[in-house]
């Protein structure tokens, strides 16, 4: 009997997933689109994971996680959200593979919307996409070919260090293109949670090296009735600099509800009149531990030289064209189901 129960426990923990869909509408001053979007509250995904106890405090673990498009089903299943093998004991955890970079954790953790859906702050990759420099953008969410170490917690303090190989031959002109370094130091005690994150990405063209640096700080305090949070992020590189600051809060409404509000200011330090402001308001209502309904409304207002839009996790929903100085509004109503 005991053996069977263990076998089940191992299987249950070996598969986890979250699926969600919403009806989403985006509108700029000149156009609007509506559609079904996948992953507005948290990303739709499918994963396998497990931990083996090797004795003497040593553990081995694996984690395979793929994104899923619940609106179209149309992307091929790839474990590119996370694919890691790890060894851990009292001295910390060693991880090999593709993983979330340490410095991105704060962007999610100190945004009431977790950098997801129309309400998410979108405060990573501020300088631009992969086309403009590194293999994965100025401050990507994840990196491949990574060697990572996470310390145990000492009195609430925890450190994380990561190195990602460029995997280019040493006699190529920009041999470090794609290399990444990231670190995070966090402190949590009682209602307080705070952390600092840093990343250095090696990018540029095939012949010329370019370094992108990301720094961010976050803090939250859980008063019980409301949990305010603050996050500041900066990215420098390619003679450009962008800052973002998010001030937000989440508050429980009764036993099943949660209200979320966030304001984010984007400061373009290298171009005049190119700042943006975003306001987001959301409500999540849990039908059970596994299932929730939610609604979000968000608005971005742009300075004359800014064209910032709203992120959706739909693989097909086209964004309406956004002109400089445009304001963009988004609505999303949906359901999340974990399994």
């Amino acid at each position: 009997m005991q053996k069977i129960a263990l076998a089940i426990a191992s299987l249950v923990c070996a598969a986890g997933a979250s699926a969600q869909s919403s009806v989403t509408r985006l509108s700029s001053s000149t156009a609007h689109t509506s559609g079904v979007s996948s992953g507005e509250l948290s990303s739709s995904r499918f994963g396998l994971r497990g931990v083996e106890d090797l004795g003497g405090g040593l553990k081995a673990g694996f984690w395979l996680e793929a994104g899923v498009s619940m609106d179209t089903g149309g992307s091929s299943l790839r474990f590119d959200r996370r694919s890691t093998i790890s060894l851990s004991n009292d001295l910390g955890e060693l991880r090999l593979g593709r993983d979330k970079i340490a410095s991105y954790v704060n962007i999610e953790a100190f945004d009431p919307f977790g950098d997801t859906g129309v309400g998410g702050n979108g405060a990573s990759n501020l300088l631009g996409s992969s086309a403009e420099g590194t293999a994965a953008g100025s401050h990507p969410k994840r990196l491949s070919n990574m060697l990572g170490y996470t310390s145990p917690k000492f009195g609430g303090v925890q450190a994380q260090l990561q190195y990602s190989f460029a995997e280019r031959a040493n006699n190529q002109p920009n041999k470090d293109r794609g290399k990444g370094l990231s670190a995070r130091l966090s402190y949590a005690s009682g209602p307080l949670s705070t952390a600092i994150g840093y990343a250095e990405m090696s990018g540029g063209t095939d012949t010329q090296q370019q370094t992108y640096k990301a720094l961010n700080l976050g803090a939250s305090w859980d008063f019980g009735v409301v949990k305010p949070m603050l996050m500041w992020a900066r990215e420098n590189g390619a003679n450009r600099s962008m800052h973002a600051v998010t001030l937000g809060a989440s508050a429980p409404i009764g036993k099943a509800g949660e209200l979320r509000v966030a304001f984010t200011q984007f400061d373009n330090k290298s171009r005049a009149d190119a700042d943006s402001r975003k306001f987001a308001l959301g409500y999540v209502h849990k039908l059970s531990k596994r299932t929730a309904l939610y609604g979000t409304v968000a608005r971005v207002s742009n300075d004359d030289n800014a064209t910032r839009g709203l992120a959706t996790s739909s693989s097909a929903l086209a964004s309406p064209s956004i002109s400089g100085g445009d304001n963009v509004t988004g609505y999303s109503v949906g359901i999340r189901h974990s399994f």
Copy 2:
């Protein structure tokens, strides 16, 4: 013990799949090909699904289903057969995501071969492929970005309604390209099963809108010793019109066998001398509830201006070239295994 049993039940229901392979031969008057084909009896697939009881009669469910090529293994796993999240109670079921369109159900349900393999009637997408109009063809099997409602059954009557978003910006020239509407009304009572289906697809080029309309009707009567069925389908659009009618029957042979026979007439209403006729004969022998052997033979005869072939679910098996007026013959012998 009870808890463990429930955990198992939930896991067992969470994964389902069907795999099958057959040796298939196709021949026209000038050429023939032979090979291994996947999914001749019913499509090879792998899926995850589950339902959560939220209390008060409310249920949440998810369904992820991907096609699998058992002959080559070569297509990437995509949950593009179905990826839905649903909420249901006594008033019906709401579904969001990618799903089979309601009007396609009759094409499968009233064909003894279920529109699958060399014997399938192939009576959807009669006017042509996606290249000729809509994003997914004149009458596709599935649509993405769909909002659907299925009613409960009232005295054997059930209704299904679906709307699929185009997800294009409203200031684009043919903004509705890809939009779909579908409905099905069915009645089942004792040995009788009958249904009507309708779909309207918005297609055309990037600049000019074009609407495709599909209508079909089906009925079957289960006499026990034999179950005859009749299906009529019509598609109009782009100044063309195609009709198809399938007359078929299935009959149990002993406890484990089933004989299937179907005749389908294709009428091209917009071109002279371009009709086709298809005859299919098949036998399925169950080795168990999960495993069956089967054999199918089918023949298409074309008028001088028609080049209709036989569908196979092989991802690699090339069809022999078919000239106008050609006859095409196909054989398939294989095994199906569900797990």
Copy 3:
């Protein structure tokens, strides 16, 4: 209770996988690269499989197996390592689908490194890649659209026969392009294991047929303290001929360790001064039945007209450029975890 235990057993056997990552370094005389590699000890993979007992000694089975890149997560999940359905009884097993070819088994079985990672002998596909002839190379590891038969064992003797369809129409110029035939005959008794393998691949251009033939022999003897093994392989075709011979051994070190050593000589019979030699040394240390640490070092020395490198299973790690006569060295240290 019994039923529940059976249900669990069926589920447990239905999913199996192996994941592994290593830090790998490759260097030629002019350049080197370092990175994270997936599958240095045995390929990282994810699979589903099961067997159904149909009674009377008859069994139906399926096997779906996909490769996984633990370093990047980046390849789409495809069941192209194996996708088969089978029927078996006392007379043997019939298999349909994509499978490992019988003649490749010896290349793996009689190499202490199993033709995997920097230490693997790389003794298949000796004449070249798919671009040079067949759809899958001169002696590929796997073929699609295959019909296979494996005999039962008669006094230690077992035979395997496979036929893979080209799936091209018979009126095409090189209609057999992609067709494959393979056979293997093995004998195992006590410490002795020996086998012969043969394959014939139909390749060439779209208009001209070309046949590639592969032949190999292997034997191993398990003395307990050491297991020496010998493998000889030959490939002929397109007016070229390559021979390879691997002499290797594995030896247990204590209860958890295994030492591996192999030397492979590559003889290019159709070009002068184009031979290569490879030496590999490895150690595997089991932390448990499911988890192991390993390290491998390998070196290839090339004659002036040879540019043979080291295989890695990384999807991203670029090989340093190798000039004729270059020597290439590789190191790999990693962890394997099965689940």
